[in-house]
Symmetry: C2
Subunit: 341 residues, 2 copies
């Protein structure tokens, strides 16, 4: 097993050139003669020479790797997001290191530290549903590791982030339900820590006020996204004296659980009770009783944009510190998708 990979030194030895000459030859440096250049290149090709990336990473203090931290990959939202990240990374010849927090703050911290130590050049993050403290990300600034958040973003002005504009989608969703004749619209919201949860409620109230529909706070319940809590939330809604005729749920997975609960309660979906949610999962197409509509949040586009910003930051780093360093804060418009059926 002659497992030794060819190095510049090896090429230099065979051709009786110096290592530096070989290096420059391969880089088409002007101070290398044509003959030499040809010889070097040919031998390099013969030997299948590939620069040792670990040496380069070390030398350049760059790893050409971006880290991605997100709650999990099993939600299709995030696996689609990965595609957006990968695509941009590939264009820039970067690799992607992925870590799942599984919505656990400690794991999130641990991964962030591991990625710092691995010397990733930058980080794309969608925070866990319980994260309230962002120190483990903020501290990366000391190491010049830029961080761009997407989808689940911290509620801080001093970070780069790309998120869905829940406002628009929520507005469309509620108006859609009102148009369909619904007046008692329930909401199964996410944990209060999540920025999107607050925004959803604000928009919900705004729309109802404008349409002069009385707001009933008992119609607003929360779930931590687990099935158990969603069932509880549904029970609370259905046990009301005047239960809602339509429910807005924080995402499609919650909607699925909610629908399941409604069916167990012998309710006719889309007749006794209708659902609208967020995410627009492909799986919806296979359901017998899907939500009436979903707010598409374009995970691919969000993640892609976040990654593009990250690469901008890599370059901006070289630019002398502008005093007023701008923080990117992009909103991707959601879009209500009405499911035909």
């Amino acid at each position: 097993m002659d497992n030794k990979l060819p190095t510049l030194k090896e090429i230099a030895r065979r051709l009786k050139f110096s290592v530096s000459t070989v290096s420059r030859a391969l880089h088409d440096h002007p101070s290398i003669g044509l003959r030499t250049k040809m010889q070097v290149k040919q031998l390099a090709k013969e030997l299948n020479y590939e620069p040792n990336q670990t040496a380069l990473f070390f030398k350049q203090q760059k790893t050409h790797t971006i880290g991605v931290i997100l709650p999990n990959l099993k939600e299709e939202f995030f696996s689609q997001a990965i595609n957006g990240i990968e695509d941009v990374a590939k264009i820039n010849k970067y690799s992607v290191l992925i870590g799942q927090s599984h919505d656990d703050i400690d794991q999130e911290k641990q991964i962030a530290i591991a990625m710092k130590n691995q010397r990733v050049d930058g980080l794309i993050v969608s925070i866990s549903k319980h994260t309230k403290n962002y120190d483990h990300f903020i501290s990366l600034r000391k190491y010049n590791i830029p961080v761009v958040f997407f989808d689940r973003v911290p509620d801080l002005p001093t970070v780069h982030k790309v998120a869905s504009n829940f406002n628009t989608g929520t507005k469309q969703a509620i108006e859609f339900l009102i148009t369909k004749g619904h007046r008692r619209i329930g909401v199964i919201n996410g944990p209060e820590e999540m920025k999107s949860s607050k925004e959803r409620i604000i928009t919900y109230m705004e729309v109802l006020q404008k349409k002069r529909i009385k707001i009933d706070l008992s119609l607003i319940v929360t779930t931590d996204l687990t099935q158990v809590k969603t069932f509880e939330a549904m029970k609370n809604l259905l046990d009301l004296k005047y239960p809602p005729t339509a429910i807005l749920t924080i995402n499609d997975y919650v909607a699925l659980d909610a629908i399941q609960y409604a069916r167990k309660s012998k309710l006719k979906i889309n007749k006794d009770i209708s659902f609208v949610s967020y995410a627009n999962l492909p799986i919806i197409n296979y359901l017998e009783f899907p939500p009436l509509a979903s707010v598409e949040q374009y995970p691919y586009e969000q993640a892609k944009k976040a990654t593009e910003i990250l690469f901008d930051l890599f370059n901006a780093d070289n630019i002398p510190d502008e005093e007023e360093k701008k923080y990117h804060n992009i909103l991707i418009e959601g879009q209500l998708i009405i499911h035909k059926k």
Copy 2:
């Protein structure tokens, strides 16, 4: 921005020790005095010293990173598999680099090359559904990068692999259908390139023969896993003079499409026609008309086992080449899960 990370050199300078002393002190080398050791460790802690991984990777010619190549992450099967890989990697303090082939052979090759250049220490692979040629993986041997395949594995004796034992699951599935009274059992199989496709048919025939049920080859159709082809396959089956009363599909996604088609054809699921498939996706639980049963293939366990083998190989590499180098070939037993409903 004092972005300079602390180095051994920095610690040595401040304490007026040599770099080597500092290095050894941090590693509890016996030839370093207690006083010195304490001083060094304290300052290291104060400065938040962390060894520069890129330097270590370079020096040790190891990246402590394993590469994973799989068709895609949006199939829950694979995102669960990732968890198995991550868990084992974490125990061994390894990072995980992920690449999706999107079932495209060229992308698969490209990723394999990129990972080789990144100097991953080893590779976990589930091949694309069209891959017939394995040179891009075999050639990694030259670079001493071990490869372990899982789930979708090459049909070669000279590779390490972990796969599902389709035999058992398929047998259970068909016998289950026969017990339910079905005599005309259709199969929507995968592309012939896939090893599992062949095995499925063999078992199918064996079971039918044993049960003395006549084999009708027109009941066996194939799909490339796309919806279009699955619909075509379904059409072929349903247009038969004596269409099947039950269908075995290669996986749950195909089953979903097949069920959708059957419903469009006004067939009553689980009455006019029943389905059994492979994978046992969680989503099944939300369906109104799920397959009767699914063969669970334990992606987490498969991937975990594959990764454990990979780490074994890392160590085995140091052992002098045994002439008879064994190739791992693990089969994980599938298990038919009958969906209650």
